[in-house]
């Protein structure tokens, strides 16, 4: 039993890593550019020809990070966006509207109960509820895609209510 818990824990950690890697895609790509600008600014013997770059991707990432949490949670069997998540949706809507080139996926998820395909459709309802809320705030339809993972990608392992509640969610995923 203990081993199962351990495995579940490791799996949860791995799942966590998986999603964080995706979300941090942009800064990872920027790494090659960062040292150049650092040597340009900080190096005592900086060459005259040095150029200090401005990383718009990085700036964009800061804006995304500043917008705060990216997960909206839902009640059991519900796809109604609760009022307490309106602030999250507004914050990210501002970020998305600020850059018309930005593409975002709203990824809907469900808890583990029930069939895989039906849960995929339920997750889709959750994703579309968030997409519609953003649309009402003026985000262009072409910038947001609502997709679903159903019950395939739980955020938390386990079958207790706390885990189930953490899995009934829609994640705002910048792409």
């Amino acid at each position: 039993m203990r081993r199962i818990l351990l495995v579940a824990g490791v799996a949860a950690l791995m799942a966590g890593c998986g999603s964080s890697v995706k979300l941090d895609n942009v800064p990872v790509e920027d790494k090659s550019g960062t040292p150049t600008s650092q040597s340009g600014v900080d190096g005592q013997n900086a060459a005259k020809s040095a150029v200090t770059g401005i990383d718009l991707n990085k700036a964009g990432q800061d804006a995304i990070n500043a917008a705060g949490p990216r997960v909206v949670y839902f009640d059991y069997d519900s796809f109604v966006v609760k009022p307490e998540y309106q602030a999250i949706i507004e914050a990210h809507s501002r970020v998305i509207k600020a850059d018309k080139n930005r593409k975002v996926a709203i990824e809907g998820h469900t808890d583990e109960r029930g069939g895989r395909e039906y849960n995929l459709a339920l997750g889709q309802k959750r994703a579309e509820a968030v997409r519609k809320a953003m649309g009402l705030l003026g985000v262009a339809d072409g910038q947001i895609e609502a997709v679903s993972f159903g019950k395939e990608k739980p955020a938390a392992q386990g079958s207790d209510e706390a885990a189930l509640a953490r899995n009934r969610r829609a994640e705002i995923s910048y792409r």
Partner: protein, 486 residues
């Protein structure tokens, strides 16, 4: 299967003379009982010999005899273990008693042909195995039918497996009716196959026996597709109908769900999340070539082939909401089937291709509905319970298998479509994804046993269940393939 469990149970057998199921634990209980019954049905036991009597006759101590008995049971359990995972429940079963002799050459062949046939026939629910594990009889041997009649068998299968000079194996069998006084030869066949097809040859023999004795086509040489998840790795497998001999068709770090066989058995459609959203592919199993079927904006899921193989029905959210579409198997623009404001998903064609069953929450909770394959009026099919999903229609169009939530438990149900009568046919609580065998006699489904995912087959009345062999890790999403062309 852990080694200590194998080693433990024969000792229990020897220290106890009573036959109870609970002394074996639930999971493989009945298989052990079967093995034990095989011993008790053997010559010594049937002639009324007790261990004590044999001891006197053979001048061996009771203790040594018991040790020998333990060895016999242990050896037979080890060889039969992989094959015997069958649970029998309920009474009033009419099963054909059949003895499958061990094939000559089984001891050295890479696959134990007779054991595979025994397990096939037992899993079908139509046969009862009369123990013949210790009798090695080939297809040309002269037969004493009365011996087998005495043991209670109506039929006997004999055969051999021989390595040919070119490295292939020749698998031969003969089926005997032993009810007749002299025994009647019901025919036999020879299958020269490469080593990799030895199991297939055994399954083909099972098919021939099944058809000869029941009048219906056997499904043992068909294939089952399923998905496993182990350490964040997803695999799509194609396996024999007993779950063995699995070969991987796709490996992915992202989830795969809803595999669906094409009517020809050459392709699998499925949903892959490899591009961070659900997308439908069709995959040629033999070549590994695959192509996109549906990769539209939003989610693409629940593929199923029309019986003519030219069209697929899918669930798309490209126009908002999960809705049903049909799409050409060669790709192209999807055609909307029906329209609702809620969820429509999990399409399933009737075998004549004229009707599509599906799941919809248009009434507030998921229920199964049907409509014409060209679209049109929608008719509700399930009325009992507040959560009915995953419809599958039997090949004769008579039965609907589906999952219904009952008191929080998800249970496989079967409905007779003509009468609307339904029955829950499992004792488990997390059943998923039923799929009919192509002869309509068995259903394969996913469930959980002792907290672990498992694939099971069941007869439509729920009386005979077998756990399929297969890969480690979580195992799910079975889909039973069509009859194979020989």
């Amino acid at each position: 299967m852990s080694p200590d469990r194998i080693l433990n149970w024969p000792i229990i057998v020897c220290s106890s003379t009573r036959l109870t199921t609970d002394m074996f634990g639930a999971e493989y209980g009945w298989s052990r009982v079967t093995l034990l019954l095989n011993w008790f049905q053997s010559d010594f036991y049937q002639r009324g010999f007790s261990v004590k009597m044999i001891s006197r006759l053979s001048h061996l101590s009771v203790r040594n005899l018991k040790r020998m008995l333990m060895g016999v049971v242990l050896v037979s359990s080890l060889s039969a273990w992989a094959q015997f995972r069958v649970e029998v429940s309920g009474v009033g079963l009419t099963q054909l008693p059949i003895a499958i002799a061990t094939f000559r050459g089984d001891d050295t062949a890479p696959q134990k042909i007779a054991a595979i046939i025994r397990a096939d026939l037992e899993r079908s629910g139509q046969f009862r195995n009369i123990d013949a594990t210790t009798s090695v009889i080939d297809e040309v041997a002269r037969l004493d039918a009365s011996v087998w009649r005495q043991k209670g068998a109506d039929s006997l299968v004999t055969g051999s497996v021989t390595r040919l000079v070119d490295g292939r194996y020749d698998v031969r069998f003969r089926l005997w009716d032993v009810v007749k006084a002299q025994g009647q030869d019901l025919g036999g066949q020879s299958f020269p196959v490469p080593q990799g097809d030895l199991r297939l040859a055994a399954h083909r023999i099972s098919d021939i026996i099944y058809e000869k004795l029941t009048g219906e086509k056997g499904i043992f040489s068909t294939r089952v597709a399923y998905i496993t998840k182990a350490a964040q790795r997803y695999n799509l497998w194609v396996a024999d109908s007993d779950g063995e001999n699995a070969q991987t068709a796709l490996t992915s770090p992202e989830p795969i769900i809803s595999p669906a066989w094409s009517p020809s058995g050459a392709q699998l459609a499925y949903v892959s999340f490899e591009s961070r959203k659900p997308v439908v592919y069709a995959h040629d199993v033999a070549s590994g070539k695959r192509r996109l079927i549906a990769n539209f904006r939003g989610s693409n899921s629940a593929p199923v082939w029309a019986p003519d193989g030219r069209t697929l029905a899918v669930t798309l959210s490209r126009d908002g909401g999960s809705q049903l579409y049909t799409i050409d198997a060669n790709g192209g623009e999807p055609r909307r089937l029906i329209q609702s404001s809620g969820i429509d998903t999990e399409p399933a064609y009737s075998p004549d291709g004229k009707t599509i069953f599906f799941v919809s929450d248009r009434g507030g909770a998921p229920q199964i509905y049907k409509t014409a394959a060209a679209g049109g009026n929608v008719e509700r099919v399930t009325f009992t319970g507040g959560y009915n999903i995953s419809p599958a229609i039997s090949p004769d169009g008579r039965w609907l298998a589906y999952i219904s939530r009952v008191n929080g438990a998800f249970k496989l149900h079967v409905m007779e479509l003509g009468t609307g009568l339904t029955a829950a046919i499992t004792d488990t609580t997390a059943d998923e994804s039923p799929s009919f065998a192509p002869n309509g006699r068995l259903i394969v489904y996913a469930t959980q046993q002792q907290g672990k995912e498992a694939l099971m087959t069941t007869t439509l009345d729920g009386k005979i269940k077998a756990r399929l062999g297969g890969q480690g890790g979580d195992i799910r999403e079975p889909d039973w393939g069509p009859f194979q062309k020989p």
